[in-house]
């Protein structure tokens, strides 16, 4: 029987998976946009983003625009590779292509 792949626990969390998937389609995104898209609270989203940052999967940039604070998140190459590995593992488990 073929060995089933273990899934990256950092990517596997649903909120973190959603965030990585969102970031995969853009150069960078603001914290507020990620919160809107995921329907999460500030605290919950912040905790998950910190975990992704600690794993090296996202990079964060804090700056001021028109004197307003802005926090931008960007997927790293490691994050992109981790997401691709995770998707490949899911597809291997399911045995069908992602449409």
């Amino acid at each position: 029987m073929p060995e089933l792949p273990d899934l990256d626990p950092v990517v596997h969390g649903k909120m973190r998976l959603a965030v990585l998937s969102l970031l995969s389609g853009v150069d960078e995104a603001e914290f507020t946009w990620l919160r809107t898209q995921t329907g999460s609270t500030d605290g919950n989203l912040g905790a998950h983003l910190l975990k992704l940052e600690e794993a090296g999967y996202v990079a964060v940039e804090k700056k001021f625009v028109a004197r307003k604070p802005m926090t931008l998140y960007r997927m790293t190459d490691e994050g992109r590779a981790a997401l691709e590995r995770y998707i490949a593992s899911l597809k291997a488990l399911l045995g069908k292509a992602l449409v």
Binding site: L4, P5, D6, L7, D8, P9, H12, G13, K14, M15, R16, L17, A18, V19, S21, L22, L23, S24, G25, V26, D27, E28, A29, E30, T32, W33, T36, Q37, T38, G39, S40, T41, N44, H48, L83, I87, S89, L90, K91, A92, L93, L94, L98, V99
Partner: protein, 214 residues
């Protein structure tokens, strides 16, 4: 199990779990890609601006003509575009796609300004050539944008602007205005309204598919 209580061993996940996760990935990737496509309001705004400029130029002979109509309406529309765009894109993510599309339309807009103002003030204004040039530039932007997005509808809209450009070369007097008005009404205003309807439908669909808190 991970800290969130999710099974991390592949063997512990059932087919439904896996399918749900793949669907989540797909919907979030789509959300990221789609977030930069909603510019229907801009087509509607510029369609109205063109209508006002042409109507002012052609049908208000004592209103200053094209020398006044085009600069005023175009500057006003540009300022409105910048203001509304800044407000709408404040929290939106940037992507290569959004930068490419912005480049196409900004270049077109700058091109129209660079062309239209000198022509209007040089005394060399010739209605057929002027309108045909504007229509060609609009067509180029639509075709380039539609080709980049792989969106046949927008490519067709661009091609129809080129048809209007050809037609403008062969009509006289107010016929030029009528060609441009008809083209603007369908290809800017109609297209803009269609995009705005699509945007509200997409947003309604997205609201119905929000992610559960982890």
């Amino acid at each position: 199990m991970d800290a969130d209580g999710n099974a991390t061993s592949g063997s512990a996940m059932n087919e439904r779990d896996i399918s749900e996760r793949l669907a989540l990935i797909e919907s979030m990737m789509q959300a990221g890609r789609k977030s930069t496509e909603y510019w229907g309001w801009n087509f509607l705004l510029w369609g109205i601006a063109y209508l006002v400029a042409v109507a002012w130029s052609s049908f208000l002979p004592h209103g200053g003509g094209p020398l006044l109509a085009w600069p005023i309406t175009m500057i006003f529309a540009t300022l409105l575009t910048i203001g509304i765009a800044r407000r709408r894109t404040r929290n939106k993510p940037r992507s290569e796609k959004s930068r490419a599309l912005q480049a196409i339309w900004t270049a077109m807009g700058c091109g129209i300004f660079v062309f239209a103002f000198p022509v209007a003030f040089s005394g060399h204004y010739q209605p057929q050539s002027f309108m045909a040039a504007i229509e060609v530039m609009l067509g180029i932007a639509h075709v380039a944008s539609g080709s980049f997005l792989r969106w046949p509808l927008q490519i067709v809209v661009g091609a129809l602007w080129w048809v209007a450009a050809i037609a403008s070369c062969f009509v006289n007097g107010n016929g030029i205005a009528y060609v441009f008005l008809a083209a603007t009404f369908v290809r800017m205003i109609g297209f803009g309204i269609y995009l705005m309807i699509r945007e509200s439908r997409d947003k309604a669909r997205a609201r119905g598919a929000e992610v559960q808190h982890a």
